[in-house]
């Protein structure tokens, strides 16, 4: 098989299968079959060997654990405590529950690594309430979906774990690098809520008394320890990302079973089964995407792109903008995990050759792909929000755009001035940059 033909069948086949609604993980596998079977140098074992190699990774173990800790938080009443805290802190600002929605996402993101888990739990918690408060359903869905992307940017993050697993960058460094962009994105979302609420005259709530604020802080203090344990343990070099994820699980278990006493055996069994299923839905495509990406590399697509890039003579800024653009477009159609494995590794040589730092490249990639979680036609968190609110995507689109424009400005600033966001990594030094 000539390389050009092989790459055409891989990419073309994958697109056709996607349009036919074949699940992404299966589509990547099926699209790989013609090349694997037709080329005498390859053969069916490539599919098994490459998928085995990609699954057989210690770092990927962090994915089920961070999913589990998020699901335990929801089932075990930790999320409810954090909701109380967020409400007493920002509930009286213009936009009321919408502000609470964003702030709770920040707390949630610091413990969970899954944006989909965030969108699903907060969609149920907030959308009906926000509509009752007088906000439009489209606005409620837009806030829920956009704020859930913080889970992908604020550590721990499943996307960062996978990124570090397939490319040469440390999870610890990436986790620390995500803190500042996450907080700035959250602030820009809260600003949009503020302005919109004032413009549309959404009603405000009364301010919680100091006593109520204090009570909710005390109640949720144990839950707020989790991000400190995860980040602190990483920075101090006590444990790896995978080990931190297991500690997050054990800690959430102790909190829900012993401290808040709101998790029974039946709920625990259900949470475990649901997490196993979700783990598979997320990680199965790591296997088939690795096969697909390996084949693209075998037929030399990365080299071709690298030559094209040398020809264009991109500066770091130009390469950063190019990378962000590609990931933004790809994210509209493809899940973030396969996008990292296939497109991330594809663009890596080009980005490095243009002088982009590995950590800067990773941060641009993660933030751009996080936007893909809410951009149609395939934005997982947007779909989850719309299905909970029982509205069509079109009804949320205008408000969604209103949130995304400032977020895009933040992305542009990440591309142009990495120093603004990467200083915590340099400050924390070797622990973060190991």
């Amino acid at each position: 098989m000539t390389p050009a033909l092989a790459i055409a069948t891989l990419l073309g086949g994958f697109l056709v299968l996607l349009v036919l609604r074949v699940p992404v993980a299966v589509a990547l596998g099926v699209a790989s079959l013609p090349a694997v079977m037709a080329d005498p140098r390859l053969g069916p074992m490539v599919v098994f060997n490459e998928s085995f190699k990609s699954f057989n990774s210690f770092i990927l173990l962090a994915v089920p654990f961070f999913l589990l800790s998020a699901n335990l938080m929801n089932a075990g009443g930790i999320t409810a405590r954090l909701l109380g805290l967020s409400r007493s802190l920002v509930g009286h600002w213009p936009g009321g529950l919408a502000q609470v929605n964003v702030l709770l996402s920040v707390f949630f993101a610091g413990i969970s690594g899954s944006a989909a888990a965030d969108a699903a739990s907060q969609g149920r918690l907030f959308i009906d309430g926000q509509v009752k408060e007088g906000q439009s359903p489209g606005f409620a869905v837009a806030v829920t979906a956009v704020s859930s992307l913080l889970s992908a940017v604020i550590p721990p993050s499943i996307m960062m774990i996978v990124w570090a697993g397939v490319m040469s960058v440390s999870v610890g460094g990436l986790f620390i690098a995500g803190v500042m962009p996450g907080l700035v994105l959250a602030a820009s979302m809260m600003l949009v809520v503020h302005v919109t609420a004032l413009r549309r005259g959404y009603p405000t709530r009364t301010r919680a008394g100091w006593r109520a604020v204090l009570t909710s802080i005390v109640l949720s203090l144990p839950a707020l320890m989790t991000p400190l344990i995860i980040i602190g343990g990483k920075v101090m070099g006590w444990f790896t990302a995978t080990e931190a994820s297991v500690i997050a699980v054990l800690y959430s278990l102790v909190l829900s079973v012993a401290f808040y006493r709101s998790l029974g055996i039946a709920a625990l069994a259900r949470t475990l089964a649901e997490t196993a299923e979700l783990t598979a839905a997320i990680l199965l495509c790591v296997g088939t995407a690795s096969v697909f990406g390996w084949l693209l590399a075998f037929f030399q697509l990365p080299q071709f792109l690298l030559e094209a890039a040398t020809h264009w003579q991109l500066t770091p800024l130009g390469a950063g903008l190019f990378v962000a653009g590609v990931f933004l477009v790809v994210g509209c159609f493809l899940d973030a995990i396969p996008a990292i494995i296939i497109v991330g590794t594809l663009l890596e040589p080009m980005a490095m050759a243009s002088g982009l730092e590995p950590l800067h490249y990773a941060l641009i990639g993660i933030v751009s792909l996080a936007f893909g979680l809410v951009t149609p036609p395939y934005g997982l968190c947007l779909l989850i929000g719309c299905s909970i609110a029982r509205i069509r995507i079109g009804e949320a689109l205008r408000d969604l755009l209103m949130f995304l424009l400032p977020c895009l400005l933040v992305l542009a600033s990440i591309v142009a001035w990495p120093g603004l966001y990467l200083w915590p990594v340099r400050l924390l030094g070797p622990g973060g940059l190991e």
């Binding site: 996607l18 349009v19 699940p23 299923e277 783990t279």
Partner: protein, 156 residues
């Protein structure tokens, strides 16, 4: 019958996930406590359990339709949508059959190999691929059968 299989697999997936906590916890605590050496097998055990968790979970997810798919087509006529759905399921069946057929070779190929660290037989992990293929075949054939019956209902 297949519903019972799905329930069994759901329970098994949850148990595997819980079991996954054991080796990694041992690893963390033995490193944090002075004087205890971390057993060497924990990392390998965790990786192999993860593979089985993913594969068992993928079987459950397939029957429950929770694997992520992209919806790019506009709303279609029910008849057309059904035909398209049958085509989609048939494509999944092709991949399932591939995993079963060549997965058997993959597992057989490793029957004398052992793992790098703990010296366990490698086929205990490799066999996850053909087993996944077999269960996927069952679930997809069931889905196709359901759609075929639904087609007759639509016609009537």
């Amino acid at each position: 019958m297949l519903s019972a299989l799905e329930t069994g697999l759901r329970v098994l997936g949850g148990l595997l996930l819980a079991a996954l906590l054991v080796p990694v916890s041992i690893q963390v605590f033995s490193r944090l406590m002075p004087g205890i050496d971390s057993p060497e097998w924990t990392e390998e055990a965790a990786r192999f359990l993860l593979i089985w968790t993913i594969m068992i979970g993928s079987m459950v997810a397939l029957r429950r339709g929770s694997h992520f798919a992209v919806d790019m087509l506009p709303r279609l006529h029910p008849g057309v949508a059904l035909v398209l759905d049958i085509v989609t399921q048939a494509i999944v069946l092709v991949f399932a059959a591939f995993l079963l057929r060549h997965g058997v070779d993959f597992a057989l190929f490793a029957r004398h190999q052992t793992s790098e660290i703990a010296d366990w037989p490698l086929w205990i992990v490799y066999v996850a691929w053909p087993v996944t293929g077999a269960v996927w075949c069952l679930f997809t054939l069931e889905a196709l059968w359901r759609r075929w019956r639904h087609r007759e209902e639509l016609r009537a």
